[in-house]
């Protein structure tokens, strides 16, 4: 396989092509809508065209699994073209162990998300699908950007389609939720833009023009006083996106109001852009601040609070989508713990949670969407005993819920186990507290499961529910396969991320000491 990919120069063109395909797809879908109108047949064409685009995108992206050198922690499949020369920005792309699985997760989830909304999205079908495609370009762009300005542009490109997706195709309180989502993230990322511009100018000084090249900025020797503000700017942007406690309150509203596919993408991919930002930018660029004991401890404390707080609040949610949203706060808390504990095991664990949460929470939202389409309610208490009438749905929901609470044999266990066993080496007490999340997760998830699918089937309106159809089964089975595969044999995935995780840990540890030493000298 690797030889074949080398033969077609796969690495040379794959990244720009991956960004281009959804963009072209978006234009085509939009144009088709403009020409063919909003009829039923035209809508179906829009769905099929979008699905075909995403399937093509996924098939093409799979090559990354084989084409990348597992031993290398450097940028790979690099593509570099001039963009806005006067500003020194370039259209520079690349992947490494930190991003490759995120790219694959995105291309894997997108077709499933489209299938998930196949029958539930009935209005403005063309616009919806065009925005979905555009959103994909934005998300993939963030993951593969090797130029910080490009990174920022993609970051915002992704924001706008999501704003419309929630605001137009969302639930009852969609306007409030979408505005909250937009302002929250927008306000938080503005400071990041300022920071990026500052970094670009600083890095460009020797050249006489700005440069936003990742490696050039990484090599910068920043004035210690500036690093605090810069780190703060990035921290705010990423922490809101993650979302870390206490910046998380946009998430429950956005999750609940978004249409199924929106929730899947929000939880499955968008949140990971925040943690990815920490891995890619905040830690490597400003190790002196990130590893500064007070800062590091404070962030880890917020992460652990997120785990416990998210789980406790999830326990009492009457709305299943809100429950899943708060469980996301808890899971992402584990990711942040793993990242800032900074051992190879904990960072690998964080990456595994990022992938695993994408699968299991993505599947949870798909399942909720499936049952919502039949009952039009998200209230847990409106169900009860439905395992009797929808056994397939109940079986799959159970497996996914178990993966979400980290049962061994599923991805959830491998991921959380790695985070905790790695973090315990540097932050034993914090990890100890976070481990109680294991208990709480079982409590909120199994309680909800019981009230939904077990107990007595006592609501007459649920007695005639339809079980999964072939489309629904077909979109869930691949996720189930992923959940079990990553639980039983995660080694191939770990191998692909190992070199980059190791490099991150050693570089940040080493540079943190250097930067902190210069801070001491500069400060006193």
């Amino acid at each position: 396989m690797a030889a074949f990919l080398a033969g077609i120069h796969y690495n040379a063109w794959i990244l720009p092509v991956l960004l281009l395909i959804p963009t072209i797809g978006a234009v085509l879908v939009w144009a088709h809508g403009a020409v063919a109108g909003q009829g039923e047949a035209a809508s179906m064409t829009a769905r099929r065209l979008t699905l075909a685009t995403f399937v093509l995108e996924f098939v093409l992206s799979i090559g990354l699994w084989w084409s990348l050198d597992q031993q290398s922690a450097d940028w790979q499949a690099v593509f570099d073209a001039p963009w806005i020369e006067a500003w020194g920005t370039r259209f520079a792309l690349g992947v490494d162990g930190l991003s490759v699985m995120m790219v694959l997760l995105t291309t894997f989830l997108m077709p499933l998300a489209i299938l998930g909304g196949w029958t539930s999205v009935k209005a403005k079908v063309h616009a919806y699908h065009a925005l979905m495609l555009l959103l994909t370009t934005g998300m993939l762009g963030v993951f593969v950007a090797k130029d910080l300005f490009l990174f920022y542009v993609m970051w915002e490109v992704m924001l706008i389609p999501m704003y419309f997706i929630i605001g137009i195709w969302g639930g009852e309180r969609r306007i409030y939720a979408s505005l909250k989502f937009f302002i929250y993230t927008m306000a938080a990322s503005l400071l990041m833009l300022v920071a990026i511009v500052y970094l670009g100018i600083m890095a460009g000084e020797p050249l006489g023009r700005p440069t936003f090249d990742y490696d050039a900025i990484l090599a910068l020797n920043l004035p210690p006083a500036a690093t605090f503000w810069l780190f703060g700017a990035f921290f705010l942007a990423f922490a809101v996106k993650v979302p870390m406690f206490p910046f998380h309150t946009w998430l429950p509203d956005a999750h609940v109001e978004a249409p199924t596919a929106g929730s899947v993408i929000l939880a499955g991919i968008l949140l990971k852009l925040g943690t990815y930002g920490f891995l890619r930018i905040a830690l490597p660029f400003f190790p002196g601040v990130a590893m500064y004991p007070a800062v590091r401890t404070a962030i880890i404390a917020l992460a652990v609070i997120g785990v416990v707080y998210g789980s406790l609040v999830a326990l009492v949610q009457p709305d299943i989508k809100k429950l899943v949203a708060y469980s996301s706060v808890a899971h992402l808390g584990f990711v942040m713990l793993g990242i800032f504990a900074l051992t190879v095991e904990s960072v690998q664990g964080a990456l595994m949670v990022m992938i695993g949460h994408g699968l299991s929470t993505g599947a949870l939202f798909l399942l909720v969407g499936i049952i919502y389409e039949r009952t039009h309610t998200r209230l847990i208490d409106a169900y009860g005993g439905i395992a009797k009438v929808v056994p397939l749905f109940a079986t799959i929901l159970t497996v996914v819920a178990l993966s979400s609470i980290g049962l061994p044999g599923t991805n959830g266990f491998v991921a959380e186990f790695l985070v905790m066993i790695g973090s315990f080496r540097t932050y034993p007490m914090m990890t100890f507290v976070s481990a109680t999340g294991v208990i709480l997760a079982a409590a909120y998830m199994l309680w909800a499961l019981q009230r939904m699918i077990y107990n007595k089937l006592d609501k007459p309106q649920n007695a005639a529910l339809r079980d999964l159809n072939w489309r629904e089964l077909g979109l869930l089975v691949p996720i189930l396969a992923g959940i079990l595969w990553m639980g039983v044999y995660p080694q191939p995935v770990l191998n692909r991320m190992e070199a980059s995780a190791r490099k991150l840990v050693t570089d940040v540890t080493r540079n943190a000491e250097r930067q902190q030493a210069s801070m001491m000298m500069g400060g006193r």
Partner: protein, 723 residues
């Protein structure tokens, strides 16, 4: 690692049948896949999708409501029942045969080190190396034989017991999956692989307790079991984190070899021991995490026999024995294990005195006997603990299956007459010996065994534990240590006394159960009586096999004073636990003078006989009346009947406060109140009022501000690039 590989290359078992050990768990897994797929095929038409027909009110909440009773008029046998009846037990039979063959191969091999079969790398990253690897040694093979052997008998019994249940294939799928995870638990070569089985059996337990999930009480019981087990699993996890942080490995062989590096008696090794024991308390239902096990009786009775008596709940005992190298170096943790075991043994036995549900009696009896096993492994008599584990698997499986036969018969009788009386309440039974002589006789064998009457199996294993405690009250690291200021020797004496007291109560409540169930007049009702009969042979034959084992199981580890083939199990386990055991007793076998030992045995037997005699003299089955005519209990009896109100206490002091805190303080107060209300929306109002103050210069929309800011920054940037 290198050492292990070198040992593996020259291992006497390499190249033998032991290489095929992976097939032992693989067979039940195959059964799970086959039966699981068959269960997805709809059974028969499950009746109209009318919720009122879906669940049938039956008996008191929390009681076994057999699925076949969804409809009183016809039984719904699953269309795939035939193939399921074959596959389900057959995979267990084959697994047992293979295990026995491997065991026979081990008899002549004299393997001093475990044989590790590595299948594939599981989680290898950073400094962590975890392989999917199975370990064959003297301890794991004993456990595997119990799991597959007793498991096979219970599977066969289930064919009869569950035959008319519409969820028949699903039942066998879960049961096969359970055995798979149980085998992973006992065969895993490292703590994390064991943990896979550990949580996996918990999952199957959850699924099987809630097998008849349309009854809320059953679903509640399943959830309670899972969550309480998770509290224990939290301890297991933390112990693993501590091990890895201090030793850098989680493989059994490496940990056993290097446990001394943790520092004998130090804080770290004590913490590891105590956190592992928290795991044991969850899985093996010890104080304070025992309350899920009695509720777990909501599952089908063969499940109670297999999971909640013979195998899964003994996993904690196995964990302590497996970690003998660690526990032997921390007297404080070891004494805690023994003390908690002793207190649990007595405490649960007192509750068993006043239960009316036949399965609840056996459930508290199980909690109590598990406490006994922990006394054994806690005082470093690892082989004694495992010995009791094995004999208990025989006689308790027999008792549960026997009670299953009784319930089956009662249910059938009530079914015929359409009665809604409780088929599990002993007040509705009585005099069953006339109707089910086989079950009656076999259950009495098991009762005498658990009560400790010689020469039945339970006598030997219980005596071995009590003698071990007594022997260690002097000349042992435990006796010389101090536990919370109490001298170890005094604590051991207390444990011994608690053990004796529990033995007395065991004899009492077991005799009571037998008297009320099988003796005296029959109270089931005149119409029902004519329908009472022995269960079919497919259920009685497993009982008979277990009866033989319960009677003769003591042979595997006869006491030393009986001469030649004595202490076979003890010597067999020596390569695994011998060194740790000897460490506690200062390098020599714990030994009692023959006179002392005889005196102790006489005392124990006298106590058992006294307990039975007391129960026989005091309890009058003839005076009992059926459940619905019985008066309410008073005073201490009432407290016992309500299990000391521990469930209620947990609910008021833990469950409700946590839910209230989460709802009122965290969610409504913090989340929607403080963060969202004050900061987020508050700042939006602030912005809006700013906009109002700025008259019509701005729109007041925060979104507009955001865009203005973007454009502004871009303009600055553009200006810069031009200059």
């Amino acid at each position: 690692m290198l050492l292990q590989e070198a040992a593996g290359a020259a291992h006497p078992l390499s190249g033998t049948l032991a290489e095929w050990i992976w097939l032992v768990p693989a067979l039940p897994f195959l059964g799970f896949v086959v039966n699981g797929l068959l269960s997805l095929v709809p059974a028969t038409h499950l009746g109209p999708a009318d919720p009122s027909a879906a669940g049938h009110e039956h008996g008191q909440a929390g009681h076994e409501d057999r699925g076949a009773h969804d409809d009183h008029h016809h039984v719904t046998r699953h269309r795939n029942a035939g193939i399921v009846s074959l596959v389900g037990p057959a995979v267990l039979g084959l697994a047992f045969a293979l295990t026995a063959a491997i065991f026979i191969g081990m008899l002549g091999a004299h393997a001093e080190a475990p044989f590790v079969r590595t299948l594939f790398p599981w989680i290898v990253t950073g400094d962590l190396t975890l392989n999917a690897a199975l370990q064959v040694d003297q301890l794991s093979i004993v456990m595997t034989m119990v799991v597959t052997g007793v498991g096979f008998l219970i599977h066969v019994f289930s064919v009869g017991y569950m035959q008319d249940d519409p969820g028949y294939p699903r039942y066998f799928a879960y049961l096969n999956l359970f055995v798979f995870f149980m085998l992973v638990l006992v065969l895993g070569a490292s703590y994390p692989v064991m943990f896979v089985g550990w949580e996996g059996v918990g999952l199957c337990s959850y699924l099987l307790i809630g097998f008849w999930f349309t009854d809320k009480a059953n679903a509640d019981a399943g959830k309670k079991a899972f969550v309480m087990n998770r509290i224990g699993d939290f301890g297991f996890l933390v112990a693993m984190f501590l091990l890895f942080a201090n030793l850098g490995t989680l493989d059994f062989a490496a940990v056993s070899g290097r446990a001394a590096e943790l520092g004998e008696g130090g804080a770290v090794i004590t913490a590891i021991g105590l956190f592992f024991f928290l795991g044991c308390a969850g899985k093996s239902a010890q104080i304070p995490l025992y309350t899920w096990l009695p509720d777990a009786m909501a599952g089908p009775t063969p499940v109670s026999a297999l999971i909640h008596a013979a195998t899964m709940v003994t996993a904690g005992v196995y964990l302590v024995a497996r970690s003998a190298a660690i526990f032997s170096l921390t007297p404080v943790a070891s004494l805690t294990v023994a003390l908690v075991g002793a207190i649990t043994a007595l405490f649960a036995a007192t509750i068993g005195l006043k239960q009316w549900d036949i399965k609840k009696v056996l459930a508290y009896s199980t909690v109590s006997q598990l406490g006994y096993m922990f006394i054994g492994v806690g005082v470093g008599a690892y082989s004694a603990g495992v010995f009791h584990l094995v004999t208990h698997a025989f006689f308790k499986a027999l008792l549960f299956l026997g009670s299953g036969s009784v319930i089956f018969a009662m249910h059938r009788a009530f079914h015929h007459t359409g009665s809604h009386a409780d088929a599990q309440d002993m007040r509705n039974m009585g005099g069953l010996r006339r109707f089910m002589p086989w079950t009656f006789g076999l259950m009495w064998i098991a009762t005498l065994a658990i009560a400790g009457i010689p020469p039945l199996s339970g006598f030997f294993s219980k005596d071995e534990i009590l003698a071990s405690v007594f022997a260690r009250t002097s000349h042992s690291t435990l006796a010389e240590a101090s536990w919370a200021g109490i001298p170890g020797s005094a604590l051991l004496m207390l444990i011994y006394v608690l053990g004796l007291a529990a033995a007395l109560l065991t004899a009492v409540y077991m005799t009571r159960m037998m008297l009320y169930t099988f003796h005296g007049p029959n109270r089931s009702g005149d119409a029902e009586r004519s329908h009472l009969a022995e269960a079919p042979w497919i259920m009685t034959i497993p009982l008979a096999v277990l009866g033989v084992l319960s009677a003769t199981g003591g042979l595997i580890n006869l006491p030393a004073f009986l001469g030649a083939p004595a202490q076979k199990l003890h010597h067999w386990l020596e390569p695994v636990t011998g060194a740790a055991s000897m460490h506690i007793t200062h390098g020599e076998e714990a030994h009692l003078a023959l006179g002392t030992e005889m005196a102790l045995i006489a005392l124990a037997v006298a106590i058992a006989v006294a307990g039975m005699a007391y129960a026989y003299a005091r309890l009058k089955p003839a005076a009992l009346v059926p459940k619905d005519q019985s008066p309410a209990a008073h005073g201490i009896e009432r407290v016992l009947e309500h299990k000391y109100y521990v469930d209620e206490i947990y609910d008021r002091t833990i469950v409700r406060p946590v839910v209230a805190l989460s709802r009122r303080v965290l969610w409504r107060g913090m989340d929607t109140g403080l963060i969202d209300g004050l900061f987020v929306n508050g700042s939006a109002y602030f912005m809006r009022s700013l906009g109002w103050m700025g008259a019509r210069l701005q729109s007041g929309q925060v979104g507009t501000y955001a865009w203005v800011l973007v454009i502004g920054v871009l303009a600055v940037l553009g200006a810069f690039s031009l200059s």
